[in-house]
């Protein structure tokens, strides 16, 4: 159990910067997920935490003690590797006992502790097996047991689930979370899988191009992404290019390729001027899709509506281009004046639509996120 401080952590390889100015505090017993696409520097950050890489700049503190230059073998962190890196020349039990052997734990005691740890991960009967004969899921469990057997201050997980198939991965996520809650140890988990991060994490740190862009609770980063990259990375959304037509104290009015002028309700904190280029994010879950033309009230210009009834609803007419069944939901791709937007709903919610149907898409302008051309989020409301 330990808290961790990363301060201005940086890693350069010659000209390339793998990790740039990463600072974060990880609480004792917390499960932090570093989430990002491949090459975002999340694994390098984890390796620096493990002591397998030396930072070019910055500092790492474990429980307040500076461990920046401490090699991996002097640091009480433990890593579960992506390919598990089990020792092929040792039995499963010897693998799990290896860390204890290096800590000069007597033979009998380390066999006992390794066996107990194997049972902890439901691999008790496999002690004498050759690890190369195990399945991916079993190897993953053995690697986890091997790392936990040394009682690490911090457990580091470097995409250990990414080589498992979907079903097994989801089971293991829940199991990992249970093990974490049971041990109350600090875990840092690296993944490129959003679902995994949301399932596991107390907090999520999102990395891109070597930088840690945002750290926060799962719902916080999802509801309140700091920039366009995060919004695109965390889930499927419709990005729509927009140009600010004009602004007033109640709203920003934008012109888009969807044809109609759209309302973004705002208290004026945005600092936008007419002519500014924006990208709007219309998530499929905020769009309601219904058969038929928009009614008269909705087809009135945005300006009229806002003035008349203070409505922040936007509505556009389109045609269903194609329908994709995705198990519990159906995804409709709707073409609107040549632009394409997708919406989702559960199939049972109303009569199914098919390609060629005229539909209306409606959404509340309050639910739309807007980003500037440089990717930064526009704050439409005073925080």
């Amino acid at each position: 159990m330990s808290d961790i401080t990363l301060q201005g952590l940086e890693k350069r390889y010659g000209e390339t910067t793998a990790v740039e100015d990463v600072s974060v505090e990880i609480d004792d017993g917390e499960l932090l997920c570093l989430l990002g696409p491949s090459g975002s520097g999340k694994s390098t950050t984890l390796r620096m935490l493990a002591g397998l890489e030396t930072p070019t700049e910055g500092a790492i503190r474990l429980d307040g003690e500076d461990v920046t230059d401490q090699p991996a073998y002097d640091r009480n962190t433990s890593t579960v590797f992506q390919d598990w890196a089990l020792f092929p020349h040792k039995t499963v039990l010897e693998n799990v006992a290896f860390g204890l052997k290096m800590r000069d734990v007597p033979t009998d005691e380390r066999r006992e502790r390794a066996q107990a740890m194997l049972e902890r991960v439901q691999m008790g009967g496999y002690g004498d097996e050759d690890p190369t004969t195990l399945s991916g899921g079993q190897k993953q469990r053995v690697a986890l047991a091997r790392s936990l057997a040394v009682n690490p201050d911090v457990l580091l997980l470097d995409e250990p689930l990414s080589n498992l198939d979907k079903r097994l991965r989801e089971d293991m996520q829940i199991e990992l979370r249970e093990i974490h809650d049971d041990l109350e140890e600090t875990f840092v988990h690296v993944t490129h899988d959003q679902d995994e991060a949301f399932t596991l994490a107390d907090r999520i740190g999102i990395m891109n191009e070597g930088e840690l862009i945002q750290v926060g609770d799962p719902d916080e980063v999802y509801e309140n992404p700091k920039n366009r990259f995060i919004e695109g990375f965390l889930g499927d959304t419709n990005f729509v290019d927009a140009t600010v037509a004009r602004t007033n104290g109640e709203a920003v009015y934008v012109e888009t390729e969807l044809g109609a002028e759209l309302i973004l309700p705002s208290d004026g904190a945005h600092g936008l001027e007419s002519g500014d280029e924006l990208t709007l994010s219309l998530r499929p879950e905020i769009l309601s899709i219904d058969r038929g033309e928009p009614d008269a009230a909705a087809t009135a210009t945005a300006d009229q509506r806002a003035v008349t009834d203070g409505s922040t609803t936007n509505a556009v007419a389109g045609t269903v281009a194609n329908v994709i069944y995705r198990g519990s939901t159906v995804r409709y791709s709707v073409s609107i004046d040549g632009a394409s937007v997708f919406a989702e709903r559960t199939d049972a919610s109303s009569g199914s639509l098919s390609a060629g149907d005229d539909v209306t898409l409606e959404w509340d302008g309050e639910d739309v996120l807007a980003f500037r051309a440089d990717g930064s989020r526009v704050s439409l409301r005073e925080p």
Binding site: L52, A85, P88, H89, S147
Partner: protein
């Protein structure tokens, strides 16, 4: 179709015949040498007139031959140990060096193999004279190591290229220091390669003649050196007996190496 098949058969037969001829060309002289060692005459003759073990008895009675045999073993084992140590560590270190210096080192290691052994022999003789090592086992071992190290190095480079280096990370991560992780994790994974490298070094040393001729004295001369001196005096079948031993030792070492690499291959297939 049939004529085609016919042509292929002819080609295959021709290829095999050529291959066999080449093989015979290389092996028959060895068989001749072995056969002449069982002669009882005073001169080397093929085919031997009478089969006997006379010269084998002679060999085991001859102190000079037994001493040369001992010298060869001492030098061979010494070379194998030193060249393996240097070659394995060199190849291991190279894995962690991605600087431009590293790409220069690999070709440099080859240089001793490219210099004619006569020149190496003379140069080393002068060099060891200065250092007072002339005629010692150490001087011959060092000379042979110059030749054997590059071979061990290249064998180990290829072995290390197949090693899963994440295992080394895992070992460090679990608290194994540099020496512990090398002994407990790296070495067990490459031991067959190390074994093959050491055998190669041993065989190189066993058959090396030119440098040994320059560097040895009558007390440290190796088998090839003594064989050469003896040949100049008399062409008796003792030389054949010694050659037979050398051939058998080399074949034995080769067989061990094949078994070791095959074991490695088998274990690779199973994993």
């Amino acid at each position: 179709m049939t004529s085609n098949l016919h042509r292929e058969t002819v080609e295959t037969v021709a290829f095999r015949a050529g291959y066999l001829a080449l093989f015979a060309l290389m092996v028959v002289p060895l068989l001749v040498v072995i056969a002449t060692s069982f002669s009882d005459g005073a001169r080397i003759a093929f085919p031997p007139e009478n089969l006997s073990l006379t010269w084998y008895v002679e060999f085991f009675d001859s102190i000079r031959w037994l001493e040369a045999f001992t010298s060869s073993i001492i030098v061979g084992v010494g070379t194998a140990a030193l060249a393996t140590l240097l070659g394995v560590l060199g190849a291991f270190g190279q894995e962690f060096d991605d600087s431009s210096l590293g790409s220069v080192v690999a070709p440099l290691v080859l240089i001793p193999l490219l210099i004619p052994p006569v020149i190496l022999g003379i140069t080393l003789l002068m060099y060891f004279n200065e250092g007072g090592l002339r005629g010692s086992y150490v001087s011959i071992i060092l000379a042979h190591t110059l030749w054997a190290t590059p071979l061990v190095y290249f064998v180990m480079r290829s072995v290390f290229s197949r090693f899963d280096w994440q295992q080394l990370d895992a070992a460090h991560d679990l608290g194994a220091g540099p020496v512990q992780s090398f002994v407990h994790v790296v070495l067990p994974n490459v031991k067959h390669g190390v074994f093959v490298g050491a055998l190669l070094a041993f065989i190189i040393s066993l058959q090396e003649f030119v440098m040994a001729l320059f560097l040895s004295t009558s007390t440290t001369q190796t088998i090839p050196v003594l064989a050469w001196t003896e040949l100049r005096q008399a062409m008796d079948p003792m030389v054949s007996v010694v050659s037979t031993f050398l051939i058998l030792i080399s074949l034995g070492a080769l067989a061990l190496a094949v078994i070791a690499t095959n074991l490695e291959w088998v274990s690779k297939q199973l994993s």
